[in-house]
Symmetry: C2
Subunit: 263 residues, 2 copies
Amino acid sequence: MNELDRLSPAEARDLIRRGEWEKPTSGLANGYTQGNLVVLPKELAFEFLLFCQRNPKPCPVLDVTEPGSAVPALVAPNADLSVDIPKYRVYRGGEMTEERTDIKELWNEDMVGFLLGCSFTFEHALMNNGIPVRHIERGWNVPMFKTNIQCVKAGRFEGPMVVSMRPIPEKDVVRAVQVTSRFPSVHGAPVHIGNPESIGIHDLYQPDFGDPVQIHEGEVPVFWACGVTPQAVAMHVKPEIMITHAPGHMFITDIRDEKYGVL
Amino acid sequence: MNELDRLSPAEARDLIRRGEWEKPTSGLANGYTQGNLVVLPKELAFEFLLFCQRNPKPCPVLDVTEPGSAVPALVAPNADLSVDIPKYRVYRGGEMTEERTDIKELWNEDMVGFLLGCSFTFEHALMNNGIPVRHIERGWNVPMFKTNIQCVKAGRFEGPMVVSMRPIPEKDVVRAVQVTSRFPSVHGAPVHIGNPESIGIHDLYQPDFGDPVQIHEGEVPVFWACGVTPQAVAMHVKPEIMITHAPGHMFITDIRDEKYGVL
């Protein structure tokens, strides 16, 4: 572990808040859960929360702010979601209009912030169990694919589930299911194992997002629901304004990964 | 198993809908999950869903209807929440004003129905593991207590957690934790084991709701979050109108209990 690993979540957020860290957050404050951010106007908040409720695998909710507040009271009561993330993306009418390092002046009394679990937590659990995670070994983005699995609709929110793929050695597949099942708050168990065609994925080497990774002899492609799903679905609604973290630039909570293990 | 045990959920709901079953639902369509009902005006729905989100142990959400619809699309797409429960209670301004066997004419376009997990599911799991559940053996209501554990506030919704108590033989306490941990959607693991004083319960033989049950030598009182919590909290807000099931008269879903096991 280096010094950045050992930062407390509050120290890491402070570094970010002071503008001294504008890079991806992977490796910061190791062992603490990081989350995806989606900020939407109050008018869409109930439907979006309902969508998450109905689709807990792609949209595992860690925290929701009170309308107008940028404080994630459950997972980091001293944090400020408008300044504690290294890079944000602002979408207007479904189009990205800018990237910023804070969104203080955009967070008006109409805004509701959603923090959703991310795969970092279960990937740590896999690695702690000796199960290799190829894209991390390579320093790449995980490959992500749109599937033919439709999310359950909620109001205006609907669309296909996006999944991430990790090649898992045959001997470790059962353990990978067990390990990730412990963490339903961060995508949980896989949604599919073994046959990409049947969930509408025709070429594993042409992901819709992220980088392709090689599948070796004796490995099985295993698919987990992905946190890109709610962003894609929200974008489809073309809200007047929507703000997210920039990919890899996550929010660091005060909650230890292991706290999200159900057993 | 008798004939009522073996009814399918649809058959049981049909019996109820035709007015041929106005009694508690325990034992109907065995093996299928039953749920608590809370119906609130749309204006309160986001805050209530947020409250449930922040307090998943007492308020495990199984399904939420679209505003105006009485169809729980996730757990029983052919059901009608306004007629498929044997007995309802209607509260106006926080006071119970009537009990009815249907709420068809009250379910206007402003209504949102919430189905919350109930303890039947994890009690079946305990009994399937050979762990005795005293109040069921006796045919009584489970004893329930207000605690000094404050729920996490959401908008206008706040208040103490209500828990249910089951005396568990010392040798079975660990197994009881394991078994109920599998079912986070129906209250999940206990919230306290062993020392009622420290959660604000001073006399185990004077429950706030339900019937007192005896704790034998060699047994430990174990406390689970209780589905009465969200009703108590919602009542406190004194909504213009709120409708719930009558105690024990639950909604029968199409989902098998085991489907809610996370592993």
